[in-house]
């Protein structure tokens, strides 16, 4: 099941971060302002890997799990 979370792209008072909703917990989390679509970030709440799906609005999904042919 795909878990999604999203909010409108709101810059925090600290302009180096964006606000987004953690798709697992629903909590509001901060992302670096230079984050981009496709980027993988670690949830500061659960440590879960999250993928940035879009930036306007900011939508995060739980990142796909490791597959056997992933690597170098």
């Amino acid at each position: 099941m795909t878990v999604r979370g999203g909010v409108s792209p709101t810059m925090t008072s600290d302009t180096d971060t964006l606000l987004a909703e953690d798709p697992i917990t629903g909590e509001e989390i901060e992302l670096p302002a230079d984050v981009e679509v496709g980027e993988i970030i670690d949830s500061p709440v659960t440590g879960t890997e999250l993928e940035v799906i879009s930036l306007d609005p900011v939508v995060l999904e739980e990142a796909p799990e490791l597959e056997e042919d992933w690597g170098e």
Partner: protein, 313 residues
């Protein structure tokens, strides 16, 4: 320049690369291969105007197919599909190294567990069983006893994907608690590091501690030859330090600082964030230098081809 990046995940490695490309004013076309279709004549991906495409697919299967299609459209792609084909498969990788007379661990491939057991017994214990496709040290088995060998082979034969029925058996190399990763572009080393661990697997992905490593002349020569052996490109060449001659009595193969190496693997979608952190080298900068040179060379080739056609006409 317009540079395409094939990806399905933007990791720190890709972020370093993207930032360097954009800092230099290049236009970057991010191509998420999960969203595209690749036809025999064209693709939904916007590749037509690209000067070069860089394969950063995390998935080996996607990497191999996507680069093959991109190449078929006449768009320069690195690493090329031929290089990927050799590097993605450990058996082909070992064969390429051996055919180029590059020292590489003794290896046998078998297709049944009975034949694999014969290979294992032939090497003696310990020896190593690896999946032919895989990375980051996953599903690697150091086999210490016949009992362990029987159990692992049965599990692989019963549970595994068909590729797990290609049993890749290799001698165990008694390395000095570390191996060497060199990043090279068309055979020229960019940077190198050691990966050290108390565990027999020293991969950075397994938590191996990294430290900058100065390649000596022999290592540089092997990196260059290993790159050539698999078709060149941006590659991660993995070496282990071994003694020049094994001691006949003990089979010990020497180690750290011996000045001799065996090349166990060449990786075609090489990660470099650990190397960038472990060394003073501006790794993404050097990679982009190389990409610019490759794109310029491809453009020159195109211009020469066009000129040739005009003359012929």
């Amino acid at each position: 320049m317009q540079i395409g990046i094939l990806y399905s995940r933007i990791r720190k490695d890709e972020k370093l690369l993207l930032n360097e490309l954009r800092d230099r004013g290049h236009e970057v076309e991010k191509i998420d291969v999960r969203k595209e279709r690749f036809g025999l004549e064209s693709t939904t991906a916007a590749v037509d105007d690209l000067d070069i495409v860089v394969d950063r697919c995390l998935s080996t299967s996607r990497s191999l197919y996507a680069t093959r299609f991109i190449d078929s459209y006449g768009v320069p792609v690195v690493n090329g599909p031929e290089t990927g084909d050799v590097c993605a498969d450990k058996a082909k990788n070992s064969l390429a190294l051996a055919e180029a007379d590059i020292p590489t661990p003794a290896t046998e491939v078998a297709f049944t567990k009975e034949a694999a057991m014969e290979a294992i017994e032939g090497f003696g214990y310990p020896c190593v069983l690896k999946p032919v496709v895989g990375s980051w040290g996953r599903l690697m088995a150091k086999i210490d006893t016949r009992n362990a060998a029987e159990a692992i082979l049965e599990h692989k034969e019963t549970l595994g994907h068909y590729e797990h029925k290609v049993f890749y058996v290799q001698e165990f190399v008694d390395k000095p608690g570390r191996d060497v990763r060199a990043l090279a572009v068309d055979g020229e080393p960019v940077a190198a590091m050691t990966r050290a661990s108390d565990h027999w697997l020293t991969n950075a992905a397994k938590g191996g501690e990294t430290e900058a490593f100065e390649l000596d002349d022999r290592a540089r020569e092997l990196v260059e030859r290993a790159s050539d052996a698999v078709g060149g490109g941006m590659l991660g060449v993995d070496l282990m330090e071994v003694g020049v001659e094994p001691e006949a009595d003990t089979g010990e193969t020497g180690g750290e600082g011996s000045g001799e190496y065996t090349v166990h693997e060449v990786n075609h979608t090489v990660e470099f964030k650990a190397l960038d952190s472990a060394t003073d080298v501006d790794v993404p900068g050097r990679v982009v230098d190389w990409l610019e040179a490759r794109a310029a060379a491809a453009a020159d080739d195109d211009a020469a081809d066009d000129g040739g056609e005009e003359v012929t006409a």
